[in-house]
């Protein structure tokens, strides 16, 4: 199985289109983007990939975060030593981000919403340096953010991370599955459809199913594989013990 990040899947392409919209937004201070969705739909992995490729700053909000804790993490993430009081840390962040074209990404933002000062500090940083801010959280985060009109009005894009489509499953199968010697493994439509149904569009489970099918194809020595050659148990992601899966 190839280890690649797929930008063609619908969630990622929607996210990238959203970042583009934020960059092109009319009001310069409206440079916030919200990503929301249930766990397992690839929010964190997409944000990590985006931060790595673009050299952006990624923080994961913790339930124990105070204003000082957040500022110290932010200063470390922009490449400085967190020395001094909050005021000095704030100015260190401003000088590091001003004109740097980096984005600040905050994952699990629900934790930061318990104390309005954290979100307000991010707003100050964004307003003063025009740094885009991407916040990500579970489904329903936008409803929580609506309480803070001054933040909600700055959102230029809300990206919902949802289940993968059947097209996404086809992309994963075609791009990631490989045979010995790096040859592509071809998936028949009925197998792609069954993977889509069985995994309920969860990317992690889709990848597991594709890896299982790839192993079967390698064992059989075939270059194309369909539903007839694959036991349904290889596609399940229902958490059943493997003995039960084999009987299914």
């Amino acid at each position: 199985m190839r280890h690649k990040f797929l930008t063609e899947v619908s969630n990622v392409s929607r996210f990238l289109a959203g970042t583009q919209r934020v960059r092109e937004s009319g009001a310069p201070e409206a440079c916030w983007q919200l990503c929301q969705g249930e766990a397992g739909f690839g929010k964190t992995s997409t944000l990590e990939w985006h931060a790595t490729q673009g050299g952006h700053v990624l923080l994961r909000a913790k339930s124990s975060w105070t204003l000082t804790a957040m500022m110290r993490e932010l200063v470390l993430a922009v490449g400085h030593q967190p020395i001094g009081k909050n005021n000095e840390l704030f100015h260190t962040v401003l000088s590091a981000l001003a004109g740097s074209s980096r984005t600040v990404i905050v994952d699990e933002v629900e934790h930061a919403m318990r104390d309005i000062r954290l979100i307000e500090t991010l707003r100050d940083i964004s307003d003063m340096t025009l740094t885009p801010i991407i916040v990500a959280g579970h489904a329903g985060t936008s409803a929580k953010l609506k309480r803070y009109h001054q933040i909600f009005s700055r959102l230029s894009d809300v990206t919902d991370f949802g289940p993968a489509t059947i097209g996404d499953v086809r992309v994963v199968c075609d791009r990631l599955a490989e045979l010995k010697g790096g040859k592509d493994l071809r998936f028949k439509d009925d197998l792609v459809e069954q993977i889509y149904i069985r995994t309920r569009g969860r990317m992690r489970d889709i990848k597991k199913a594709v890896a299982n099918v790839e192993a079967i194809a390698r064992r059989m020595g075939v270059e194309e594989i369909g539903l007839a050659e694959v036991p349904v148990a290889a596609l399940t992601s229902d958490g059943l013990p493997s003995e039960l899966k084999r009987r299914a």
């Binding site: 199985m1 280890h3 690649k4 931060a51 790595t52 490449g79 192993a215 390698r218």
Partner: protein, 201 residues
């Protein structure tokens, strides 16, 4: 800056300073070119510029250069061109290299496997990212930055033993440590960390 005189043939910078220190008058570029016949005119111009930057030569008049007191002193103690002190200018921006992206992924995740790093850090332009990343993680392991965990992540190939998992022990900063022959240089701390004897931990 005084250093021991070198034995190899002096370069244009050294020779120009020698001429100007000896004459103690201002000379034009044409006069210098006439003095140093085998040195191309372009090199003379560049060398005089460098000497002016180092404050060993000054422009006495338009197009006319003479050695300063510091230049005469440097010439007497054996002038050598090259860096005259530490670089104090603005730091270079973080480079967008594969190993820099790998380091960023490590610092973000903390626990990782080689396929994790490949998926996150590669952008499709690398020739052999797998071996490069494996070698880098191995070097960081020998320098005590990374430790291999006892449990493995499930593999994908038939009869695979799974992927090794690693834990980043030292998050020293945003710049990726540089692998060297006998250790790892950490640009965040400015320290050279030698490899542990007997392989990675």
């Amino acid at each position: 800056m005084t250093r021991t005189p070198r034995k190899s043939k002096p370069g244009p910078q050294t020779r120009i300073l020698a001429v100007l220190s000896e004459r103690r008058v201002c000379l034009t570029l044409d006069e210098l070119a006439a003095e140093l016949k085998e040195v191309p005119r372009k090199k003379i111009t560049a060398s005089v510029c460098r000497l002016v930057t180092q404050r060993y030569v000054e422009r006495a008049d338009k197009g006319c250069y003479q050695a300063t007191d510091a230049g005469i002193e440097a010439q007497r103690h054996g002038y050598r061109p090259g860096p005259q002190g530490p670089l104090t200018g603005n730091r270079k921006p973080v480079p967008n290299t594969l190993r820099q992206r790998v380091w960023k992924t490590m610092t973000m995740r903390g626990r990782f496997s080689i396929p994790d790093l490949m998926e996150n850090a590669c952008n499709g332009t690398e020739k052999a990212p797998g071996s490069n990343i494996t070698h880098y993680v191995w070097a960081l392991g020998r320098a005590g930055y990374v430790r291999e965990l006892s449990s493995r992540a499930p593999g994908t190939a038939v009869e695979s033993n799974g992927y090794k998992q690693f834990l980043l022990l030292k998050k020293t900063g945003m710049l990726a440590p540089v692998e060297r022959r006998d250790g790892v240089f950490d640009p965040n701390t400015g320290e050279e960390v030698p490899f542990a004897k007997g392989g990675a931990e």
